[in-house]
Symmetry: C2
Subunit: 354 residues, 2 copies
């Protein structure tokens, strides 16, 4: 069966402000010293499994050109531009309908564009298991990450009986508090919900028809118009009419016959500036310095320098990000508060800095 | 007797890097929100006592234009440009010889260009007492600051018997350790050495003749040539031949018959970036923000923004200084280490940043 990949690249990446901007969100940035952007890495690591002409990028219309520039091997008609943001369910419905129109029934990998994978061989092996599971007729398959610590910032997947390479999913659970997360880990029956899915287009379409018929109908009409002169008009009309809905809430938490493949391949969701020290090499004092940096007695300090020299003296547990028009100095305890600065800037009407 | 003032403005102000540069040291910067530079404030606060035409600025030749720009009321011939840096003794000898040539014997106030004074009325009253003391024939007079805490970064003046408005100086002592500084304060017999002096030109010249005849002779020759066509040539020849010597070591610690006037007028030597929060108003969280700053949960943070927005999130006890080509992020515990960065830059040959 044809294997395709859908890469979701419509996100805003607010937590990586001020590098991540409305005009160039996180997935189009390089946060590693090799200079490759997140989405470039995402496409590249799929190469043993999916060729660029079978990769579809769902993104905001504003980022169409960025995608083309960064991924010249992905055909232009595979860049699926959302006229507005409607969360992951309409995004996936749009892509599934287009793929079904183009190829008939096909395997569809659904992947975020802005995560990192440490062990790419194991990642590919895990995806292959998921593909085999989906091909065997299992309804919906999700990749669950074997937890390495009781993270409270992720949703979890509770799994039950083994079934071939996969496990039956008992339920999806929301972000837990710390004692609950610890219980999850101790039970050996919970995985992190990574937002990676594998299924046949026919399976996801059937589930949408049953669980969100309004979005299903609209997506079908978009799919029908794909590669016809009516496509743009139909897309705008149908997509803007969609309600916002996540695939987790709209499908995964309600569907039955769901399977998970446990994966352990150095997955990192690169969820905040704290990730930079995890995904890059640090020095003996646990500093990560990118660019022109002079340090005197700094420890556990992350510096992403811009065009200027950054002198960090005696700093501890702090993140410094320098851009042409904004400088961020952020305690490692407060990386989530970057969003509050963006909110203030919006209130002040300073959209050029958002 | 004619009252003149000599303002020493040849310093480099390394501890205020990266704002203070070789091309524009601290005394020519504004570190307060009123926009006045340190040297402008120094001249202005003397106005009840000395008019601009009787104020002499001794500075490095490289800063002559800066002085003229910032102090247009000071006559050009009062800007005494040192061809090279030779510490305070040659600086004062140069100025004393010039003033004696111009006015004959005169009162000479010797003042740093980069300190701040909180209570200017009291400052002027204190200077008046010192002038009266010097006019009465007391050899050398220094202003001592009544200590408010056991500072270990200043030299101290140990004083003895009262004599009119002044006290006899027993001895000058180097920077003490903390227990010694505490003893000094408890004794009630020690003042901070502020580097402010008052004397007749004839007195300081006599002392120089006795204690540093080489510098005295050279200075005399410079003074003789002042306002003649030979001045530039004589100055370069004599001044470059001077050895480096501080007035404290060369004169004050060796001369006899020295008096001190205790002063308590909100003196601040503005010795490091820590001073900025002392000399400016801070908010309820003890932050000082100058420029375009957004703060989320920051405390005891000093930000001197440049042309860009600075976002400070969750920061504590840190100093952020943004300039066009360098950004400094410095723990308040390490403000002295700014010099180490400058040393590194010099080693790297990056003089444009020094």
């Amino acid at each position: 069966m044809k294997i395709t990949a859908v890469i979701m690249a419509g996100g805003r990446g607010e937590r990586f402000w001020p590098k991540s901007r409305n005009s160039c969100p996180k997935q189009f940035l390089s946060l590693t010293s090799d200079g490759e952007t997140m989405i470039q890495k995402t496409v590249k690591r799929l190469s043993p499994l999916v060729s660029p002409e079978d990769i579809f990028i769902v993104t905001n219309a504003a980022y169409g050109e960025l995608v083309q520039d960064q991924l010249p091997d992905v055909p232009k008609e595979n860049i699926l531009s959302e006229p507005c943001a409607r969360n992951t369910a309409p995004c996936i419905a749009f892509a599934a309908a287009v793929i079904q129109k183009k190829y008939g029934d096909a395997i569809m990998l659904v992947l975020p564009s802005d995560h990192l994978i440490g062990y790419e061989n194991i990642y590919i092996k895990t995806l292959k298991k998921a593909i085999k599971t989906a091909e065997e007729g299992k309804n919906l398959v999700t990749i669950g990450i074997t937890p390495t610590y009781p993270e409270t910032g992720y949703g979890y997947i509770n799994f039950g009986e083994e079934s071939g390479d996969a496990y039956e999913v008992e339920r999806f659970v929301e972000k837990p508090d710390l004692p609950t997360a610890k219980k999850y880990l101790a039970s050996g029956k919970y995985l992190w919900n990574s937002g990676m899915f594998v299924w046949k287009t026919s399976s996801i379409m059937d589930n949408m028809q049953a669980l969100m018929p309004d979005i299903y109908e609209g997506a079908l009409r978009i799919g029908e118009s794909y590669c016809t002169p009516d496509f743009e008009e139909t897309l705008v009309k149908e997509f803007t009419a969609f309600r916002s809905e996540s695939v987790d809430f709209g499908i995964m938490e309600k569907a039955s016959d769901i399977y998970t493949i446990p994966g352990s391949f150095g997955w990192d969701d690169v969820g905040s500036w704290l990730a930079v020290e995890r995904i890059n090499e640090t020095d003996d004092d646990k500093n990560y310095f990118d660019g022109d940096v002079i340090s005197v007695d700094s420890k556990r300090t992350t510096v992403c320098a811009g065009k200027r020299l950054v002198a960090a003296i005696g700093t501890r547990d702090i993140i410094i990000v320098d851009t042409d028009d904004v400088l961020l100095v952020c305690s490692k305890n407060n990386t989530q508060d970057v969003k509050k600065v963006i909110a203030q800037l919006k209130e002040q009407g300073r959209d050029e800095l958002v």
